[in-house]
Amino acid sequence: MDKNLSSAGEKKTNCSEQSKCFQLLESILDGENIPDSDKILKEKLEKCEPCYRHFHLEMAIKELLKTKCCHQITPQDLLDNIRKKVEEAK
């Protein structure tokens, strides 16, 4: 059995082009227009353990950032001041 395959023989345990693959996976995750992205994603996630782990970890972090770091409420006095200053500038 190839030493680079997992015990189940399903996925590579090492990625020979890790940096390139990870940046490509991140671009797909970020919704960039990558040709054949569905095909690339399916192949990498099915056949490469490091790519599978990286993609799912990045997706979890991205979701966490979106749900936990976007909830600053704009202070009312800021809104009032902007309105006032813009009126003065007219």
């Binding site: 991140e26 990286h54 970890l57 979890a60 966490l64 936990k68 902007i82």
Partner: protein, 199 residues
């Protein structure tokens, strides 16, 4: 900000653009300003200054184009040109130094790949927020623009005045640094981050 005067808007048109295209982004703008400055008053000043500039230069804005990206670019430039200069607390880390250090193609993943999804999913808001806030401002900025605000790489390149390739690599390095921080939190929470098994 482009100084090209594309069109002279009437007062009514200006008010419409300001109210309908600029103001809806105020929460995102305030969140961005707060995460740049870490200070409520400074964030307010930065956002107010940005909106006043936006109104003053409204003829440079082409209606129907991306108002949010245009506003973020003004805010980013105001932060660099005005806030950083007068701030008594300049950026903790010089970006060039950081970028040079991390610009190697041989990014070391050994310390980051063993952070596990279940540990991340169990994190409360504080850990992720603190980890984000601990990054140098240029790395923090790309994560805010991409992951919090959903800008495309092309929009980020325009906001930051850098090539798309630099956006991609800076974002990748920022994420590795963020994972390093999260890994420390995961360890302190009692997760075994050195295990081989992935769940």
């Amino acid at each position: 900000m482009s100084q090209v005067q594309r069109k002279k808007y009437s007062d009514k048109e200006k008010n419409h653009i300001f109210d309908q295209e600029f103001m809806p982004h105020i929460d995102s703008m305030y969140n961005f300003a707060y995460r740049l400055t870490f200070d409520e008053d400074d964030a307010k000043d930065l956002v107010q200054d940005t909106y006043l500039k936006a109104y003053r230069f409204i003829n440079s804005f082409e209606q129907g184009t991306n108002a949010k990206a245009w506003l973020f670019r003004i805010l980013k430039n105001s932060f660099i040109n005005d806030y950083r200069k007068k701030s008594k607390q300049p950026a903790k880390v010089d970006y060039q130094e950081v970028e040079t250090y991390y610009n190697s193609d041989d990014v070391d993943y050994s310390g980051t790949t063993d952070l596990r999804v279940d540990a991340v999913k169990d994190m409360l808001g504080d850990e992720i927020s603190n980890a984000l806030n601990s990054l140098a401002v240029d790395f923090r900025t790309v994560i805010i623009l991409c992951d919090l605000e959903g800008f495309t790489y092309e929009e980020m390149a325009k906001i930051l005045d850098i090539p798309i390739g630099t956006v991609r690599s800076r974002l990748h390095r920022a994420r590795n640094l963020l994972k390093e921080k999260l890994r420390s939190y995961a360890q302190s929470m009692g997760y075994d981050t050195d295990g081989e098994e992935f769940t």
